[in-house]
């Protein structure tokens, strides 16, 4: 991972690929790499779909090595959905393969002068860009099938579906998984629309003949990795709950807490939630011959994913995650797992963010475009997006645009991005993160619960609302750091409870690179990343007014606990005063 691939798409010349050394970007990975490049090279006021925006794709620091859990890939740009900086990350095989090919980042810049579609092929001999209009408006599933026939040694694809080609703000970048299904998505913020604006349909990766990346101190690295894996396997979340039920294990509990946003955030409980819970999903998968435990990339030892089969036992989609099941399920009043899995499949095929689309359909349902609970209507609406009809293009532009077009007041977005699956009135601390994250409403900012171990921000009183602000700040710092390692965020649980597992992670990075990183250094990295992202947003015109939840969270009580969001604007403004 000692080089960067720059793909200049024009319009001054025909597309061209060049390799450059890392230079100032040496030592960066994942989100640290994407956000540093965007912050430094992209004019903040540029149009997200214009020539000045860049799409950066970066593996994590330990991707391509034998380190467990190291295969997350980060995709960054100025977001067409939020207008601010964006990093969206995904699992799948792309990160491992790209890292083994030696690339610390791919930067796609400029804009083609003609309306032409390209594919980029990268193997041990380098990268080449090829015009291929036969791929136009292909769904991700057909696309990777065609690519596999053409390049039989291809080991991963990074692609967009029709939504990306149409430059819709909910468009994703798809990454193929271990079964070569395009089922892992850098989902949030419309990164797929930026790839579409660059005219790149697919990046075909082939690491045949490439070796695993070698650590500087193989013995120490092996020992640290072993300890890390032991820590993950012995922890109840990473060793039991996630492998058994996946992230959807949360449905019953969040519902019990009255924090499960139901029918466009009108209620905190969904009556039929046990029909779509992780327990039911795992049982359905196993009964139909799918899998309730599956890794999205090689080297994942937690295996929170699964394979969902239809009623006839044929592959339909990967196991829909908690966020997807909520967005297309309870949030739309839908309690049919097969319909939700179909919506997941369609989203993946068209290249759409499941959270954004679920939130959007719920807004459309509130507007009367369809009835809450009508699964077939939801499927038809997603198909409209895939076809690119005028209604479909409105929906594919996300919840904020849809709310405006149809005059809906209750639109759950921050910085234009839809809120994920926890109502901030019941879990106020996460509301602080939703409001202030530079990414827009983003649940993954809260997945890295490592802040107390990192000791960032010192000791806080978690029961005061000031404490919630400080916790949110610390979580955001910790998340930025974990995102930069390229590790799956689910490692955070073992790391939270088991300091020796956190030390093993630092030891892995140190023995791999010959560094002397400490816990403080990891926290510092997180702060640096967040600062550069905040700085980009400020230069793009964002102010504290953008760090707010929509008004209805303060005004409308959420049943059954009848609570409103209580954290004040002044307290929200304290989040980034460190």
């Amino acid at each position: 991972m000692d080089k960067i691939l720059r793909i200049h798409m024009g319009p001054d010349k025909d597309p061209v690929c060049t390799e450059t050394p890392l230079g100032d970007y040496a030592g960066l990975g994942g989100r640290a790499m994407t956000s540093t490049i965007i912050s430094k090279e992209v004019p903040p006021m540029c149009h997200p779909l214009g020539a000045d925006n860049k799409l950066v794709i970066a593996p994590g620091l330990l991707s391509g090595t034998s380190a467990a859990m190291s295969g997350r890939i980060s995709v960054g740009c100025k977001s067409p959905l939020t207008g601010g900086i964006k990093e969206a990350n995904a699992g799948g095989q792309g990160s491992q393969v790209l890292a083994r090919l030696g690339y610390a980042a791919i930067i796609i810049e400029g804009k083609p002068k003609k309306d032409v579609l390209y594919k980029v092929v990268i193997d041990r001999n380098g990268a080449r860009i090829i015009e291929d209009n036969s791929l136009r408006m292909m769904g991700n599933y057909d696309l990777v099938e065609k690519i596999k026939q053409e390049y039989d040694t291809a080991t991963a694809c990074i692609s967009i579906g029709p939504a990306g080609e149409m430059k819709l703000a909910a468009a994703t970048v798809a990454i193929t998984d271990t079964d070569f299904h395009p089922a892992r998505h850098a989902g949030r913020g419309g990164v797929g629309a930026v790839m579409g604006a660059k005219g790149v349909k697919v990046i075909v990766l082939d690491d045949t003949g490439m070796k695993m990346r070698e650590p500087k101190d193989p013995e120490k690295f092996r020992a640290a990795n072993k300890k890390f894996v032991e820590g993950l396997k012995s922890h109840p979340v990473t060793g039991q709950a996630l492998p058994a039920y996946g992230t959807n294990v949360l449905t019953n509990i969040i519902n019990e807490a009255g924090a499960y946003p139901t029918k466009n955030f009108m209620w905190g409980r969904f009556d039929n939630c046990s029909r779509i819970s992780g327990e039911t999903e795992a049982e359905t998968e196993t009964r139909r011959g799918g899998k309730a435990t599956h890794g999205c990339h090689r080297g994942c030892v937690i295996q929170c994913s699964g394979i969902y089969m239809d009623k006839d036992g044929h592959y339909l989609s990967k196991q829909p995650e908690y966020e997807t099941v909520w967005a297309h399920g309870g949030n739309c009043g839908i309690d049919d797992l097969d319909a939700i899995a179909m919506l997941d499949r369609l989203d993946d095929d068209f290249g759409l963010d499941t959270i954004e689309m679920g939130a959007t359909i719920a807004v459309a349902m509130e507007a009367g475009i369809a009835e809450f609970g009508d699964a077939q209507a939801a499927i038809n609406l997603i198909k409209e997006v895939g076809k690119g009809t005028p209604l479909g293009r409105i929906l594919g532009s996300g919840a904020a645009v849809t709310g405006k077009v149809f005059g809906v007041e209750r639109v759950p977005v921050v910085k234009g991005q839809a809120l994920p699956a926890y109502d901030p009135r019941a879990v106020q601390g996460i509301g602080v993160t939703y409001a202030t994250s530079p990414m827009g409403a983003d649940h993954t900012s809260g997945y890295a619960v490592t802040a107390n171990i990192l000791g960032v921000g010192g000791k806080v009183d978690p029961l005061s609302s000031k404490g919630q602000v400080e916790l949110s700040r610390n979580l955001q710092i910790a998340t930025a750091a974990v995102d930069s390692t390229g590790m799956c965020l689910f490692i955070a649980f073992a790391v939270l409870d088991q300091p020796e597992t956190f030390q093993a992670l630092i030891d892995m990075i140190n023995s791999f690179y010959g560094m002397n990183l400490t816990a403080d250094g990891v926290a510092e990295l997180g702060k640096t990343v967040l600062k550069s992202e905040r700085d980009f947003n400020a230069r793009a015109g964002f102010t504290s007014k953008n760090d707010r939840l929509p008004e209805f969270y303060k005004k409308e009580v959420l049943p059954p606990h009848n609570v409103t969001f209580q954290v004040t604007d002044e307290e929200l403004d304290e989040v980034f005063n460190w």
Binding site: Q240, L250, V449
Partner: protein, 205 residues
């Protein structure tokens, strides 16, 4: 609110170890138990259900009483008609927030259970609704099944349908309303519109 007694059937089943899992889906959708109320959650689990403290500590990470997250099992008192939900450790920021006495408990302060321990008049008979989510089914579910749970007959009917094969191999003994019976007798029962008090014991084989 206990199920109506008039239509109650008492069923005592002994099943092979493999067949106990057939009954776990009943546990996550919720069931009634009859206990002495007026005690803490901790005492209920330990003294009345026989779940030892270590098992409670390791396997019950997330607890809700009447939909509110509980931090202290000793200070939270069970009253007649309560809803008690138990879960293992959960992923995600919010999973961590709901963990009992977790570092991020402040995140969900708005829906936290306020300890209600006060001088109590002493234990008295009552009932509560219990839900056992995710891994608490296999880990502590058998204690509840041994104690006896009350469910609707249609729910049990569904279990008999989905687990027909496992149960036909795994059923060791049947008692209906205190009388010895057989799997045939069980199949002949009309469970619709009836409430069932179900006891399930795992045999040693």
């Amino acid at each position: 609110m206990a199920l109506k007694h008039s239509s109650l059937i008492e069923l005592r089943l002994t099943v092979g170890p493999q067949a106990v899992s057939c009954f776990y889906p009943l546990l996550s959708s919720g069931f009634m138990i009859r206990v002495q109320v007026g005690c803490s959650i901790h005492d209920l689990l330990r003294d009345q259900l026989g779940i030892d403290g270590k098992l409670v500590e390791t396997h019950i990470q997330t607890v809700f009483l009447n939909g509110k997250a509980v931090d202290d099992l000793h200070q939270s008192i069970i009253e007649d008609g309560c809803v008690l939900s138990l879960s293992g450790a959960l992923p995600g920021m919010v999973g961590a927030a709901f963990r009992k006495s977790g570092f991020y408990a402040g995140f969900r302060e708005a829906v936290s259970f306020r300890n209600n321990k006060a001088p109590v008049s002493g234990p008295r008979p009552g009932s509560l609704r219990v839900k056992l989510f995710n891994l608490t089914g296999p880990t502590i579910g058998p204690f509840f099944l041994r104690h006896g749970i009350e469910i609707a007959g249609t729910e049990l009917e569904e279990v008999f349908q989905t687990c027909a094969d496992t149960l036909s191999d795994g059923l060791r003994s049947v008692k209906i309303n205190g009388r010895e019976s057989t799997s045939k007798g069980l199949r002949a029962l009309d469970l619709k519109h009836r409430s069932i008090r179900l006891f399930v014991e795992a045999s040693m084989d």
